[in-house]
């Protein structure tokens, strides 16, 4: 690219104007990056409408009242139910009774109904094979500096073990995590329901609540009614609802956000095209004489066209890359600044790709007219100032 210095020099021939133009390009791409991050995170939230596929079934009267284990097979037989897991409240405290940690005693297939929870295959195997094994959310692991293989003493509020003591001991066999720590499992502990049930004399086969997955989100309501019908008029009537009843709205909201983001970006980039188009046009117009000199020396019309186009693409790429880099920096700083409240606007490879493609495309659009003008420039007329 031996013409690079020529293109670069042309670009910064009017430093102030180029820098101002660059600033507006940077701002546009900064906005693009942030809005795209918003759009992506909404899209992801919609995808974790895993929650919409899940139904929670608890006792109708009180959350505390247990349900019979036999209900599992009945629920599994309801048409539209893909999988049924169950859990019990264990109520663990670590070291100090005030140090409450969400601890559930769960069925073996519990993790299968939470596909967004990531458990290493080896950890899962170890958990399945270890009766007193527990899986711990990675946030907790970090918080208490636990390691896999550690013995974990937990105090239950309610349930004594075989010895009649509420002090239980487990073995940490693996960690649970989720992308962006969105799943609550990254802040809790699960142990085997079977171990729990066999160890404490108090439970006797009871289940706290069921979690089932439906094969079709649109059938959730029907399936929920069918599940509740199983226990109608029994001593353990149930109430079933989607894990996030509001989740359905996500899909609609997501579409709205996508539309808003697209409209804003459309307006921003339209303005950007006009602005940089004007800058490039001006830049070429005031360089008429120089372009004519290049042609005189023997630069072909096509070369001149290419150079002006390259200049325009470079301008947009420069601003675009800086803008996207700024989004990354701001995105990385956000979680720290907000104390973890905001998860940060990370610019994914896809957003980078889209941003760069946009910059190049706008560069071509904006450069096209000035480049054609430069290509058609008549040497003799230009040199004579006509």
């Amino acid at each position: 690219m031996k013409y690079l210095h020529l293109i670069w020099a042309a670009l910064f021939r009017r430093k102030t104007r180029t820098i101002l133009t660059l600033l507006s390009i940077i701002m546009a791409f900064l906005l693009f990056g942030l809005l795209d991050a918003v759009r992506v995170s909404f899209a992801e939230a919609g995808q974790s409408a895993n929650g919409a596929e899940r139904l929670q079934t608890g006792a109708k009267l009180s959350f505390i009242q247990p349900l019979p284990k036999s209900l599992q097979q009945q629920i599994a037989a309801v048409p539209g139910v893909k999988d049924v897991a169950h859990a019990n409240w264990f109520g663990g405290a670590y070291q100090d009774p005030h140090n409450q940690i969400f601890t559930f005693a769960v069925s073996d297939n519990y993790l299968d109904v939470y596909p967004e929870v990531e458990v290493d295959a080896n950890d899962r195997k170890a958990f399945d094979a270890t009766a007193d094994g527990v899986l711990v959310g990675d946030i907790l692991m970090k918080k208490y500096k636990w390691k896999i293989g550690d013995r974990l003493p937990l105090q239950s509020q309610i349930f004594p073990n075989k010895e009649g003591s509420k002090n239980w001991s487990f073995q940490i066999v693996g960690t649970m995590k989720s992308k962006d720590n969105k799943a609550f499992q990254s802040q809790m502990i699960v142990l085997h329901w079977k171990t729990f049930d066999e160890t404490t004399p108090y439970n006797r086969g009871a289940v706290g609540w069921y979690v089932s997955r439906v094969s079709d989100v649109n059938q959730s309501d029907r399936v929920a009614k069918a599940i509740d019908a199983l226990s109608a008029n029994s001593d353990h009537e149930t109430k079933t609802q989607t894990e996030q009843a509001a989740t359905k709205n996500w899909i609609k909201q997501m579409a709205d956000i996508g539309l808003i983001v697209t409209s804003i970006m459309g307006a921003v980039f339209f303005t950007l095209v006009l602005l940089t188009g004007n800058t490039m046009m001006q830049a070429v117009r005031e360089r008429t004489n120089e372009l004519a000199v290049l042609k005189t020396i023997g630069f072909s019309s096509r070369k001149v066209l290419g150079m002006v186009l390259a200049e325009s693409v470079m301008l947009l790429l420069l601003g675009g890359l800086v803008g996207l880099a700024l989004v990354s920096i701001i995105g990385a700083a956000l979680p720290a600044m907000s104390g973890g409240m905001i998860n940060g606007a990370h610019v994914g490879a896809k957003s980078w790709g889209l941003g760069i493609a946009l910059a190049v495309a706008i560069g071509f659009v904006v450069g096209a007219v000035p480049a054609l003008r430069a290509m058609r420039l008549n040497i003799v007329d230009a040199l004579a100032g006509r």
């Binding site: 031996k2 120089e290 005189t296 019309s301």
Partner: protein, 229 residues
């Protein structure tokens, strides 16, 4: 001596809207290899037009122009550009250097169109700058140079790819007497020592004296020929 330039029955017509203006009428002209020709004549007589035709910047409406045996009036835009880059050096009244490039980079410009490596380009440009006596100004931008110095940089740029022909349109028109003499002396050296064929348009009879002979153009017709020593 063999002719470098042969112009046969060349006419040039410009169309301004519906109006046609014939600027050159049936020009016949031979320029020998190694000649230093001054072209004089009143303003608007067609000097620049003729020079542009010889330099391959424009094409004649009628007639033929051959330079170094090549019928340049038959070349298309792209071929003509390539031909110019290989065979002609241009020197203008207002130097026409690129303002954002250093003298060195300005001189290297024509070499970008060759296959030379960056190091060779740099080297050749340095030699050309030495030849015009501006080696120590290589890193200066045009605005940091006097008019005479700028014109000498322009001459370095014109000769850096070693063309056979130099066309100069009023090269001293914007210079004081001393600078003009430097530039003219330089052109004369290029003509005599390096065998460059030079065609120079000028309004200044003193400048014309540096040439080996002078042609006069009047209303698009060559009128008279005067010999110098």
């Amino acid at each position: 001596m063999a002719n470098l330039v042969e112009i046969r029955n060349v006419s040039k017509v410009y169309e301004r809207g519906k109006q046609k203006v014939e600027v050159l009428h049936h020009i016949e002209l031979d320029i020998a290899k190694g000649d230093f020709l001054a072209l004089m004549g009143p303003s608007g007589s067609g000097k620049t037009t003729l020079l542009n035709l010889i330099g391959g910047l424009d094409s004649p409406t009628d007639g033929s122009i051959s330079v170094g045996g090549e019928r340049i009036d038959r070349l298309g835009e792209g071929a003509l550009a390539k031909w110019r880059s290989e065979h002609v050096g241009f020197i203008f009244q207002f130097y026409n250097l690129l303002p954002m490039l250093s003298a060195q980079k300005n001189v290297e410009l024509p070499l970008l169109l060759t296959n030379l490596s960056a190091a060779q380009r740099k080297n050749n440009a340095s030699i050309a700058l030495q030849l015009v006596g501006l080696a120590e100004r290589a890193s200066h931008k045009p605005t940091e140079l006097s008019g005479g110095q700028q014109q000498r940089v322009a001459i370095a740029r014109a000769i850096v790819s070693d063309p056979d022909l130099l066309v100069c349109d009023e090269p001293t028109g914007d210079l004081d007497r001393q600078s003009a003499e430097d530039v003219l002396g330089l052109l004369q050296t290029l003509n005599r020592q390096h065998g460059k064929t030079i065609i120079m348009v000028t309004h200044d009879p003193k400048a014309a004296e540096y040439a080996s002979h002078t042609l006069h153009l009047d209303k698009g017709t060559l009128v008279e020929q005067a010999q110098h020593a």
